[in-house]
Symmetry: C2
Subunit: 331 residues, 2 copies
């Protein structure tokens, strides 16, 4: 697979520089280009910081801006940002109200964000809370091991916590709110084609011409089963059934339905999947109160989709609707 | 290439239904689902209608909304909408101020929009003007034949004319303005992988592992040359040089720089290309006054990019900046 890049080693940084150049009205680099931050911070507001490996664009930099994130730390492709990057972001965006870290549940990310938080707290000048996002129901819950991964639902957490922070919610309240959104959010994905990592330009796994990978993550990890490709209605029913089962029951419940593209799937197919998912869920008594369709949380050029459902209450709906001004979400 | 669809025959319509379901606050179907229109028209405003084959999503439906299009007519994949669809859109969105048609320069589109316009005018109740967009400099200008194709620059015309119409500009003025934007706009694209048409699930042309197609259109047409893939800087320089040559000179001129993804190229690569294009143009004395980066005018799942440059003056800049509320462009 060919890519538009000068070299695999510089792809992530070159892309970040282009991003900052394109959205200079909203974002800027932090000192020494260690992270991307809002150009204008809101004094007295809790700072919200997220981050992770490159290769998931527009997550997280595309969600830096008023009403969502204050800073995003990006590592190399599929590689956690360093504690040093995260610490710099904490120090430079804390306006005294403390910092909320939103971290996807991967060992490397959790470890590095934790290390940065400890260093910041040890200095005695920062208060920090952390939300671990683990919305991927393709991975079974278990007492041991890392548990469920953080995938597309991460941006739902970022949007809702971001709106509450913008409205002045204190750190402790944001921690409770973020955990509540994680608990109310389930995601599952399916891929028709694996991810091509720039260093190798080979796919991380190869699917036959009639195969799909069900329960795919966002790093080219294999999913929970490899099935024959079926029509879109069957794929959507398979995923939505897993999600409904995991919730227990959503009958009569209002939800946000979010259909996400994994990087190489055209928007036309995402809308098609959305229409089918909406119909399936409505047939099962779920109320689609809010919608989001787009390519937001990706795995490089993977052809695939994920479906995320967040159970809404009045407060979450209100926070979802609050204005947001980022490169990738804007209303 | 696998796709998320129930059948090739229903892909376009299924996708449209999902689109309308996802954006019911902005759009709705016209009568008999012949086209997609703004849910709330602005009385007394010139109606702006565009359209074309499916497979270019989010164009055109994603640009229906306040400050841009009033209606979009979509055909089957890479197939013009019928005069019947276009006529319905004209009749149902004309509030008395007339209708501006924005048409990409392809024989089928031009013919069907023209036929619809003639039928509408013959009825004696509609005033119509048409803008033909032909921004693709990969095709040589010539006295005979169809001439240059309409590609990504189309949405620049739609945005600027849409803002002027929203502000109350009369039909004759919009015709002059639209033609002026077309004249000020140049686009060129390059593909790393051809388009997979759903009916065949085969690529329209096959590129070797080290080949790229330069001057690609948005229907899987071959480009003007097949070259060895080079690094991104060289690709960007090649395209930008063609664009600058075609303009003659842009030294000291303010422009809109628009990097567009053709469907299968990740946003990270688009930002990388944007950063390089911006630097190249600035080195050549061009002033990047406005920017747009994203997957807006596509060719199904083609891996590729196009670069569009529109020369701006004070009025065009102001109209570009005016608020827009569509599914795919919003500020």
């Amino acid at each position: 697979m060919k890519k538009f890049m000068n070299s695999a080693a510089t792809l992530a940084q070159d892309s970040l520089e282009g991003f900052v150049a394109a959205h200079g009205d909203i974002v800027m680099f932090g000192a020494e280009q260690k992270y991307v931050r809002r150009r204008e911070l809101s004094p007295g507001k809790v700072a919200i910081i997220s981050g992770g490996g490159a290769g998931h664009e527009p997550m997280h930099t595309g969600f830096v801006g008023r009403g969502m994130l204050d800073a995003a730390c990006t590592g190399h492709v599929f590689t956690s940002p360093t504690p040093d990057q995260i610490l710099a972001a904490i120090r430079e965006t804390d306006s005294g109200a403390g910092t909320l870290l939103i971290v996807k549940n991967y060992d490397g990310d959790v470890m590095n964000f934790e290390m940065a938080a400890e260093m910041a707290i040890a200095g005695g000048r920062h208060r920090i809370e952390t939300i671990i996002v683990n919305d991927d129901i393709a991975v079974e819950r278990s007492a041991r091991g890392t548990g469920r991964r953080g995938v597309a639902g991460t941006i739902v957490v970022e949007k809702i916590a971001g709106a509450a922070a913008q409205a002045g919610a204190p750190l402790e309240e944001l921690k409770l709110l973020g955990d509540a959104v994680v608990a109310a959010t389930r995601t599952m994905g399916v891929a028709l084609k694996g991810t091509t990592v720039p260093q190798t330009t080979r796919e991380t796994f190869l699917l036959g011409p009639d195969e799909m990978e069900v329960g795919i993550g966002i790093h080219g990890e294999p999913g929970r089963s490899r099935d024959k490709v079926t029509d879109a209605s069957s794929i959507v029913a398979l995923i939505c059934r897993h999600i409904l089962d995991d919730f227990g029951s959503l009958k009569g419940q209002p939800v946000l339905l979010f259909v996400n593209g994994l990087g190489g799937t055209p928007l036309s197919e995402l809308y098609l999947v959305f229409g089918l998912a909406r119909a399936f869920l409505e047939e099962h008594g779920v109320v689609i109160a809010r919608s989001l369709v787009g390519t937001y949380v990706t795995s490089l050029d993977m052809a695939g989709i994920s479906i995320t459902v967040t159970q809404l209450d009045e407060r979450l709906t209100h926070l979802w609707d609050e204005p947001v001004q980022t490169a990738s979400l804007r209303w």
